[in-house]
Amino acid sequence: MTDLRNLTLAQARDGMAAGDFTAVELTETFIEATGAVRDLNAYIVETADQARAMAAASDARRAQGQVGAMDGIPVAIKDLFCTKGVQATAGSHILEGFVPPYESTVTQNLWNAGAVMLGKTNLDEFAMGSSNMTSYFGPVANPWKRKGDDAVLVPGGSSGGSAAVVAARAALGATGTDTGGSIRQPGAFTGIVGMKPTYGRCSRWGIIAFASSLDQAGPMTHTVRDSAIMLGAMAGHDPKDSTSMKLDVPDFEAALTGDIRGLRIGIPKEYVMDGMPAEIDALWKTGIDWMRQAGAEIVDISLPHTKYALPTYYIVAPAEASSNLARYDGVRYGLRVDGDTMQDMYENTRGAGFGAEVKRRILIGTYVLSAGYYDAYYLKAQKVRARIAGDFNDAWEKVDAILTPTTPSAAFAQGDKMDDPIAMYLNDIFTVPASLAGLPGISVPAGLSAEGLPLGLQVIGRPYDEETLFRVAGVLEDAAGFDAKPDLSGLGG
């Protein structure tokens, strides 16, 4: 049965449909794999018993001829999603032991489609980070290593645990959330497909909030086809989230026609960074050639405010975070550290419950929203954000999708960049602009660095045009033919 671990989500779906194996057999394989990859520290909670029960129910449905789009598919859930009866921590001490009495809409949609939950994956605390180093539950290891070097690398973040379990073939897919790149950057660092849909495509209800105008859920999978299948199961309008769009969910898988002839692909000149490794630039140029060879028209474009995206993000996101995280006060759930007065209890609880990066962002957010500084920082950032979104609107007059690198480097070692917050923030330089504009983006593994680590290319699409995004990404994936795998010999592979 070890073969089952190497299937894609689509192959597993088709195998169960053909009667080659059952959901119970598939799920047992992945429960075993979950145990074999514990050294990665990718799960905060494993839910093997629940997975077995869900798999048995899936087989029973199949016997009745009633199967959903993800029936019997074992997936991992980022521990930012509230899951009824199963601890949800956001990677933070302040929520340790919190057991939600309700289910997030996205996860409920997945269970309605028949998916099976393997467990809750580790993440940067409150999704604030690009390395998974800020989790209260410890860092996650990337299953990939540099050639001839045993240094433990980060899987990226914040959806680092989700990326690691998919890359290590311990889940067929995983949910992530992306605020400034938290799906796409770890996707690139671990050689998998990471997809952030348009803001409003997936409900945010029941996802622990970081920055509400930016947060979006999305799938992390082995292939573009898997991504299309999983997004189809996750997405949809939700009356409980006033920002979720009243749009039908198209058949994303049907969009994978393999034909991009005549499509106009934009190449933004501002995505060339000083000091960017030559191999990133070379991979991007190769990607442009692949698009051209597939019959697309390459169009040079300009997104002039690109360099201002990161500083804009680091005002807007902390401001929203400082407001969202005000709810953790030791009264209704999670940690409480007593004090003589109510005020002392608040301050003690939050001082002990939040880690260093979260505190840093709460302080920045509180400052930029405070009287006397609001206009200079927060209002200014909102105006620059409008200009960044305007750049993309102008680009859509000329192109149908945009191709860029996903990250300015391959995965780095655990502990690197920890003493310099801005160096860490630069990881998201290519992913943040699309986040600020609310656009869909997908990272596709496209090649290996000289050190033997995966590198990704990013496709950015028009709002709510995930179909074109998937179509382009599918062609990119075929052209890249990325079939490198991490060495899983110590992880039961």
Partner: protein
């Protein structure tokens, strides 16, 4: 004007965040670095630009004003660090 340790202490109090005295200077340094870096936004001409508050069309979602939930006090209180007689319990607020 860069932030000093007293400013950081005041911001931390606004955020109801206990910060140890010995961390105030290093935090002031980190926050000043970040604030110095974001000041490059001043280069951008934003005259006449409306601040972007939402990336989706802002048509307010409305629903009928009917009670459609409730009667779940036990669920609401289930994660409370301290509770008493069906309420959240907190340190004394009014003498």
């Amino acid at each position: 004007m860069p932030l000093n340790r007293d400013n950081v202490s005041a911001i931390a109090h606004l955020a109801r965040l206990k910060v140890p005295e010995e961390d105030l200077d290093s935090l002031a340094g980190e926050l000043n670095n970040i604030l110095g870096w974001v000041e490059q936004l001043d280069e951008v001409d934003t005259d006449g630009v409306a601040p972007m508050t939402s990336v989706v069309a802002t048509e307010y979602a409305r629903r009928a004003d009917n009670v459609d939930d409730g009667g779940i006090a036990e669920d609401v209180l289930a994660n409370a660090p301290d509770r008493m007689d069906g309420f959240f319990a907190v340190p004394k607020v009014v003498e």
